[in-house]
Amino acid sequence: MFSKFFIRFLFYIFSIYFLYISLSFSAGKSFELYDIKFSFDGIFGTFDKPSARRGLQIYREVCSGCHGLKFIAYRNLTSLGYSREEIKNIASEYEIEDGPNSEGEMYLRPAVSSDNFIDPYANINMAKFMNNGAAPPDLSLIVKARNYGSKYVYSLLMGYKDIPDNFDSLNGYYNKFYPGHIIAMPQPLYGDDVEYLDGTISSLEQEVIDITTFLTWTSHPEMVDRKKMGFKVLVFLIFMTGLLFLSYKKIWKPVKDGSI
């Protein structure tokens, strides 16, 4: 009976492996990304909050000039360890158009915690016009929206190289990991781009790890809760599967013996 059980188990492993193969083929993986381990990898991985907060600083000082974060609200920053007061202060540095008021006029007011991050451009046409026709993507979901997620974002930001002779650089910059290698975004981070509030030395790699951690959080804000709940659910289910297997054996004993 265990052998049958085992065969079925193998079948699942096989089908999952097969899906993995077919998906990785369809992803068209043509170059090796940097092999990097993050704080949030693995079953018990959680976000390194100081790193994610430094990532927010990089976002605010570098990325936010061109990239929005429209699905994240300032209030969400509580899960990175910011207090309500700090969040209010961060939000109030931005202005948002609201209205119409009781006189029918639109007006500008400072953002509050419940507002979402303010977009750098008023609308998509302005974003395109200011960037040679290609609007910079919103970063709320960037890690989820790319194959290999965090690893890709990390590799891309580390992957700016001198242009090889056989490439035409007229349309952009050379990046080792960007599909087609010519990317419209100039290298955003070089190291020493920000002066970290917590005193950490802002080397290029430190900055890239920090912004990747922050952007992984914006894509998967539920990740830590999800992994914690998943662990409890799986422990319970494995235990229950064991109990049900024993009950099944016990109930079926007379049938297998032939006494029924």
Binding site: K4, F5, R8, Y12, S15, F18, L19, I21, S22, L23, F25, S26, G28, I43, F71, N76, P137, S140, L141, K144, A145, R146, N147, G149, P179, S219, P221, E222, R226, K227, M229, G230, F231, V233, L234, L237, I238, M240, T241, L244, F245, S247, Y248, I251, W252, V255, K256, D257, G258, I260
Partner: protein, 412 residues
């Protein structure tokens, strides 16, 4: 009067007027089931479970979803980020669809191996295939609802297939779209139908089960039940076995839901739909890949569509295409081997379907497509005639207990 007596009198009173209790007892408790069903018979009840899971999670998602081209993508993010446990409900629904298909495909391949479509279960098989078709329509329309890049382009590719129909094709496409391009009108009708179809599936599941209970389950030996010694009651024997199987599959399901929730999906669907930007490779969800492989194996658009649709419709003819009188492949030496070729063939088609149609994938796809149809339309009828089946056992109980005795002897 004790509480128990009040209870049973109430049950009797209701049952006399509306026999719900006696029909539950008849079809879920006393229902005689062959004593020799193996684990492959667990997948029917598993499919039922995933159907119910999809309906429950789906109804909750519908409470927060906004079916408009403007707001759909943002409402999904609202569910993922702001709705309490919205991420859990949505991830369960997304992966629930995949698991529903895994379970149903295994269920179908079980029927194929043990000849469960043969007389008197032809209609049972047909209802199953209709359920599969409805599932595919439901899953496809559901995939469009998040209005990401893959949603949008999958909808564009699939609705455009209808333009292959001569003369009236373009008219049909415009009618389906509710306009001249994939847009708000299409999203709204897909949402309405995505909500409706699961209940049609429930209807066909009821027919499927009624047909099943008319002649009872087939079994690994493929011979009819000879009497009470061949059967056991559904409860407690198969209720506990189904519960054990469910718990096992749920463990794998929740492993995916909690630790790899986006694994079976495509990253492009987290990019909002953009009608000006075509993704590098438009691929459907994994469970459509074998059919997508067949579609692209044929160099002609209309031919491809006909082949893809026929891939399922030939299965309706199986009860007559399979000419063998013996049901179970266990007693069919040639068919037993050929069967696995079909399994491998479908796996190859899935692999080809997930790859861009270039280079050797085209050739492999064509060979696999030709094999798929030859297997069902040529090999199955011929093998049924030529093959000399092994001698069938005289009874289920006799065989099961004989095996038991042999095992004991061997162990001694």
């Amino acid at each position: 009067m004790t509480k128990k007596e009040i209870g049973s009198r109430l049950i009797d009173w209701i049952d006399y007027r509306l026999p719900i209790f006696s029909s539950i007892k008849h079809s879920l408790v006393d229902y005689p089931t062959p004593r020799n069903l193996n684990y492959w018979w667990n997948f029917g009840s598993l499919a039922g479970f995933f159907l119910v899971l999809q309906i429950i999670t789906g109804v909750v998602l519908a409470m927060h979803y906004n079916p408009s081209a403007e707001g759909a993508f943002a409402s999904i993010e609202h569910i993922m980020r702001n709705v309490n446990y919205g991420w859990l409900i949505r991830y369960a629904h997304m992966n629930g669809a995949s698991f529903f298909f895994i379970v149903v495909y295994i269920h179908i391949f079980r029927g194929l191996y043990y000849g469960s479509y043969k007389s008197p279960r032809e209609l049972l098989w047909w209802f199953g295939l209709i359920i599969l078709l409805l599932m595919m329509a439901t899953a496809f329309m559901g995939y469009v609802l998040p209005w990401g890049q893959m949603s949008f382009w999958a909808a564009t590719v699939i609705t455009n297939l209808f333009s292959a129909i001569p003369v009236i094709g373009d008219g049909i496409v415009n009618w389906l779209l509710g306009g001249f391009a994939v847009d708000d009108a299409l999203l709204k009708r897909f949402y309405a139908l995505h909500y409706l179809f699961p209940f049609l599936i429930v209807g066909f599941v009821i027919l499927h089960i009624s047909a099943l209970h008319t002649h009872g389950s087939n079994n690994p030996l493929g011979i009819d039940s000879g009497g009470p010694q061949d059967s056991i009651s559904f409860h407690p024997y198969y209720t506990i076995k189904d519960l054990f199987g469910l718990s096992f599959v749920l463990t794998i399901f929740f492993l995916v839901v909690f630790y790899a929730p986006d694994y079976l999906g495509h990253p492009d669907n987290y990019i909002p739909a953009d009608s000006l930007k075509t993704p590098a490779h438009i691929v459907p969800e994994w469970y459509f890949l074998p059919f997508y492989g067949i579609l692209r194996a044929i160099p002609d658009k209309l031919g491809g569509v006909v082949a893809m649709v026929s891939a399922i419709f030939v299965l309706f003819l199986l009860p007559w295409l399979d000419t063998s009188k013996v049901k179970s492949a266990t007693f069919r030496p040639i068919y037993k081997k050929i069967y696995w070729l079909l399994v491998v063939d479908v796996v190859v088609l899935t692999w080809v379907g997930g790859n861009p149609p270039e280079g050797y994938f085209i050739l492999i796809g064509r060979i696999a497509t030709i094999y798929y149809f030859s297997h069902i339309l040529i090999l199955m009828p011929i093998i049924g005639f030529l093959e000399k089946p092994k001698k069938l056992p005289s009874s289920i109980a006799g065989t099961v207990l004989k095996q038991k005795r042999e095992n004991v002897d061997n162990n001694v």
